[in-house]
Amino acid sequence: MRLKITHHSVYRYDAPVGFVVQSLRTTPSVFEGQKVIDWKVSIDGADAGPGFRDGAGDWVQVWTIRGPVTEVPVRIDGEVETTDLAGVLRGHREMVHPMVYLQSTEATEPDAALRALAAEPAEDLAPLHLAHALSGLVSDAIAYRPGVTHLNTSAAEALALGEGVCQDHAHVLIALARVRGLPARYVSGYLYADPDGAPHEAAHAWAEIHIGGLGWVGFDAANRTCPDDRYVRTGSGLDARDAAPIRGVRASTGMGAEELDVTVAVEAVAP
């Protein structure tokens, strides 16, 4: 499938700010399931660092603006050719040992309820079946409902609420997988929504679980599926904060407020 992605963000500041630094992880991953046809990132008035591929296989680039500025427009435009690999991250070059992803974070710290849920699938399930079972449990436990959770909602809080968005599904699944000893990580990317399908967030997130012999496999508990050719993967981390496509800081003279406008569109186009 050929997907065209338009992802424009504008950070607006009440008062002029200087020394904006942003670290971007917004370039599609390189693996057998996706091929970049064209990809362009630009920030008006900013200097780009040379960029590098990190140990997890993500392309990272730092952008800096000396300022002062009152808005920072980040424009990401590109096209990606995708192939359905049933969620398997085949051919992805990375060096980080999977065991690193057993480490829990604040957002994914298991509480008693998460541990209880993680214990539901039988003990002798093969890892792949266990991962599917856990993903199914998350889909059942958390109804898709925007607006009830926020950026800092933890897996434990989301499970208690029983509602949330893709970030919450991913966090809960990651927490469950780690409790069962499966390395798991958070993945950011984009999702193409069929015109007649269920409503999705175009800027999307899901989880990957490491299965011995198979490698990393994606699970999108929010949509009860594994990523296919409607998905574009850009980066990963221990949790949402760690995998954030854009991380930034600014030096501000005043206490000016920041406002963020984001437009994300994923369209299917003819090759």
Binding site: V21, F52, D54, V62, T64, H97
Partner: protein, 480 residues
């Protein structure tokens, strides 16, 4: 002065660095006279003079977690600790060997992890280690060096028996004491330095600077600009940061003095921004870049890690270097020497029981009163139990802490640390000492002949940390 060799009961169990029975050892031959001819009044006067000098220089060391006076002087003992050239040579070879192995280990575990694949170190201890830094996986810093200044803590138990207590691969402190102790001794006792051929240590700042310059990134043009990054004057080792910057002739900066622009890091100066090539950081990984690590940190430089990863700046020690020096990894350093260098370790490790192993756990719990137990990530002498020096209640209290989290602890036999004559109120008495030499790793691996000798001033105490009532001594290596 006849009491020198005997420090009360038990003293005979310990290796006395100055005396072999009543015979003065070779290293101290030139000093015995000096001690014998120093009357108590002179000694007290000199001690007061030394303290005044330290105060004037401003060298102080705050004690973490104890409150009290943050500008407390670390006690200085005028009696030097002395090595012969041949003793030092062997130590030096052992230290360099260990430094090479530690850097080889770091390069490996941030690369293919051969030592884990070969089953020589459990994967969990490396990859689930808090100090393992995912952000630098796959990155090889200039010359493959991760830890540029390695402080190796050594103790002696016999004439040729040295043990490594721990490795410090991140930002070992204390080297300013090595330099100042010598400075003070030379000022107060110039005659000692005329009469004894003592290897100088004052080349350390130059050597450190050359080491740091030798690991500048490939993109650096001309002479590398080196800076020391300090968390600021509230830090207990701030004096040392500014001292070293001064002696090396480099800038001392805080995070706010640096900024990232494009592909490089710059320092703000009155003459405009200057590009920085090498950052000798004296702040922890968690605080160096709020974009990669703790984002509430105000101490670091946003974007620094991205510039580092793309080869625009060198950071010493490399972020993630700490995975080589925790107490759990420590037990595997001899294995690293064999695995990477194909050599037998020159310096021995202390036998260590790791409490996450059932057999070790049982043994340690049955013998708590005889052992030293430490936290895996502890330092500064905090959070440790010295069994033979503890009361029953203290031991039982510590037992509960271990039971709550066994994998947080390791245990070692109580070592018979060597003693060195030390000036105390009653005159001269043996006190236990250790040694921290500072090994520099860049284009070459080098160390100045000497180090920091710490002395446990309390009679019978085996804990030399300054935070636990330890003092320092000048450390001599005699030339041939």
């Amino acid at each position: 002065m006849l009491t020198l060799g005997s420090g009360g009961e038990g003293a005979l169990m310990y290796y006395n660095e100055m005396f072999d029975g009543t015979k003065v050892r070779e290293a101290y031959a030139g000093l015995a006279d000096w001690i014998d001819h120093m009357p108590a009044e002179i000694r007290q006067m000199k001690q007061a003079e030394a303290e005044a000098l330290f105060r004037r220089i401003g060298i102080t060391f705050a004690v973490y977690g104890e409150g009290g006076d943050p500008d407390r002087l670390i006690p200085f003992d005028m009696m030097p600790r002395i090595f012969t050239q041949s003793e030092w040579r062997r130590l030096e070879r052992g230290i360099k060997q260990r430094a090479r192995a530690l850097n080889a280990f770091l390069r490996d575990v941030y690369g293919r992890g051969e030592i884990v694949r070969a089953g020589r170190i459990p994967a969990r201890l490396v990859y689930q280690n808090d100090a393992y830094e995912r952000a630098v996986v796959g990155f090889v810093p200039p010359r493959g060096v991760y830890s540029h200044i390695i402080g190796i803590d050594l103790v002696r138990t016999g004439r040729d028996e040295f043990f490594v207590l721990e490795d410090n691969c991140r930002t070992p402190s204390g080297v300013s004491y090595m330099l100042e102790n010598r400075e003070i001794m030379m000022r107060m006792f110039p005659e000692l330095f005329r009469g004894n051929r003592i290897e100088p240590v004052d080349g350390y700042p130059d050597l450190l600077r050359r080491t740091l310059e030798s690991v500048a990134p490939a993109k650096c043009q001309g002479r590398p600009r080196v800076v020391i990054l300090t968390p600021g004057h509230f830090n207990s080792a701030y004096y040392e940061h500014s001292f070293l910057a001064n002696l090396m002739g480099v800038e001392l900066v805080e995070g706010a003095d640096l900024f990232v622009e494009g592909e490089f890091v710059y320092m703000r100066t009155t003459e405009g921004p200057k590009r920085v090539d090498v950052i000798y950081r004296r702040i922890d990984d968690a605080f160096i870049d709020p974009l990669t690590f703790r984002r509430d940190s105000m101490l670091g430089v946003p974007g620094l890690m991205d510039v580092y990863r793309s080869g625009g700046v060198s950071i010493c020690s490399a972020p993630g270097a700490g995975v080589a020096d925790d107490k759990a990894i420590y037990t595997f350093v001899p294995e690293m020497v064999r695995f990477y260098l194909g050599e037998e370790p020159i310096l021995k490790n202390v036998d260590t029981w790791t409490l996450w192993k059932d057999d070790d756990y049982r043994y340690v719990m049955d013998n708590l009163g005889d052992l030293v137990v430490k936290e895996v990530h502890g330092s500064g002498g905090y959070g440790m139990l010295v069994g033979p020096r503890s009361t029953k209640a203290e031991i039982e209290d510590f037992r509960l802490r271990i039971q709550a989290n066994p994998s947080n602890y390791i245990a070692q036999p109580t070592l018979s640390l060597s003693t060195c004559p030390t000036f105390v109120n009653e005159g001269v008495a043996p006190r236990h000492v250790d040694l921290r030499p500072y090994c520099l790793c860049g284009e070459r691996i080098e160390l100045v002949p000497g180090g920091l000798t710490r002395v446990a001033l309390k009679e019978g105490s085996l804990v030399v940390n300054s935070s636990q009532g330890g003092g320092v001594k000048d450390t001599w290596v005699l030339s041939e």
